[in-house]
């Protein structure tokens, strides 16, 4: 069976829809069925909840309790909340997390916010992977009372000059065949992209032509998206087995060791 490391899954409930797999047991069943041997899991609770510490505690508990050893928790940090540094500390010291996930658009800040620079520094110091979700849902179908635009990740290029070793993963950024964030960040060697929202015929092949295939990570955005989408993209890409293996597992493994 072909194996995958899925760098983009999310636990708990999406506020606007019940999803098949918004229960951890069910999600893990789907992931394992498809050969996922490790999944980097954020939590939907981190998007809107204000008590982030408990959201992260539940995330860790779910991963441990129902993860079958494949779920790796990526706690949320919201820099717009008071004393958010304590959440980083708990993720590192108490939960021993390997990385964090942020949702700047849902949390209401741009990447030139001074606290975001502080967060980058803390991630660098604690050797955490930072996952930045550029979007969760297509702007056009968002609930009328909660409209957020996709994150402009361009300022990262400047900020990361101070943190050349910090590992950053941009999630859900390649909506459509749009490449705005990609163009701005293509020179940042420490930034990787997941494939969940990459589109276009042979979308992964054209992506690998723009940035090195080493920086392309398998990510399904399950359970919000059908998991099968990411798998079928590999088939559609026409890439060779060696490159596919990097996208499926090797790049994520290397990033985790990094």
């Amino acid at each position: 069976m072909t194996h995958f490391i899925d760098t983009n899954v999310t636990l708990s409930r999406w506020p606007f829809r019940r999803l098949r797999g918004d229960d951890t047991v069910e999600l893990v069943k789907i992931l394992r069925h498809h050969g996922v041997t490790q999944a980097w899991a954020g939590t939907f609770d981190g998007v809107l909840h204000k008590d982030i510490a408990s959201a992260n505690e539940r995330l860790v508990h779910e991963c441990r309790q129902h993860g079958h050893g494949i779920l790796l928790p990526f706690g949320t940090v919201n820099i717009m909340l008071p004393a958010w540094e304590e959440d980083v500390r708990r993720c590192v010291e108490e939960h021993k997390m390997r990385g964090l996930r942020v949702f700047p658009n849902y949390h209401g800040y741009k990447l030139d916010h001074p606290d975001f620079a502080r967060l980058l520094a803390m991630c660098d110091e604690h050797r955490l992977i930072l996952q930045l979700a550029v979007s969760i849902e297509d702007e056009r179908t968002q609930h009328p009372l909660l409209q957020v635009t996709d994150v402009d990740a361009a300022p990262l290029a400047g900020l990361l000059k101070l943190h050349p070793r910090l590992r950053v993963v941009i999630l859900n950024s390649l909506r459509g065949t749009g490449t705005r964030n990609l163009n701005h960040l293509s020179a940042c060697k420490n930034v990787s992209f997941d494939i969940a929202t990459r589109e276009g015929v042979e979308g992964l092949k054209t992506l690998a032509e723009k940035i090195s295939v080493d920086r392309v990570l398998f990510g399904s955005h399950a359970p919000f998206f059908y998991f099968e989408s990411a798998v079928l993209k590999l088939r559609e890409s026409g890439l060779g087995e060696e490159q596919l293996a990097r996208i499926r597992t090797k790049n994520a493994e290397a990033l985790l060791l990094g």
Partner: protein, 260 residues
Amino acid sequence: MIWDLHCHIATVPGRTPDERMYYLVQIADRMGIDRMCVYMGMKWSDDPTPADFRNQNDEVLQALSHWHHRAFGFAYINPKYVKESLDEIERCIRDGPMVGIKLWVAERCNSHDLDRIVERCAELKAVIFQHTWLVTSGNRAGSSTPQDMAELAGRYPNVPMILGHTGGDWELGICAIRASKNVSVDLAGFDPTSGVTEMAYRELGAERIIYGSDAGGRSFASQLAKVSGAEIPESAKKLILGPNLRRMMLPILHAKGMQA
């Protein structure tokens, strides 16, 4: 059997319609897609003049010319120009190889400008495909909503038509046309959000759902996943991937003596 309701040559690589069609067929082969419906020309144009849509249809006719066993063409028309659109239907469908029409965002589909177009398509048994998208922040003028489609479908309850993109905001789109039994939904061209196909299956039944991709703006992969990933019976998946579209097209294919 997989038939793809929704493909374009505007968004794939290649210098000519022939090169682009060849490319599409290569990738379709890789994904197990047997037939594709192709519409609109080498360059997007959302409010085309008659000269423009004729030219776009010529490009599609050229693209199809070596691939009649793999691809079908829908004529792109603009209801703002009723007479010229009707003439184009005669040229491309009655006298040419095309089997349907594509309506995009030039004019909302509840307009009475569509009446004669729909009536002529019904006579020819041509497939009627209408792009729809319900944008939360508001639609652009000319862009149809699923509610507009329900209005049109209500005026012609015996004429089959297709709701493009399931209305985009699919939870609303499905409900808007639920009672319009002559309307099927196109699964193409929006994110592979989990649950869409299950809801369409629950509310509309398997027979009113049609797979399409919107390639090359979309991948075949993400759109096929809406069917393969859905928690619905295998028999329903089968219908959605091909037979539903084939059933809708058989009358015109037979009339034209086309094999399918």
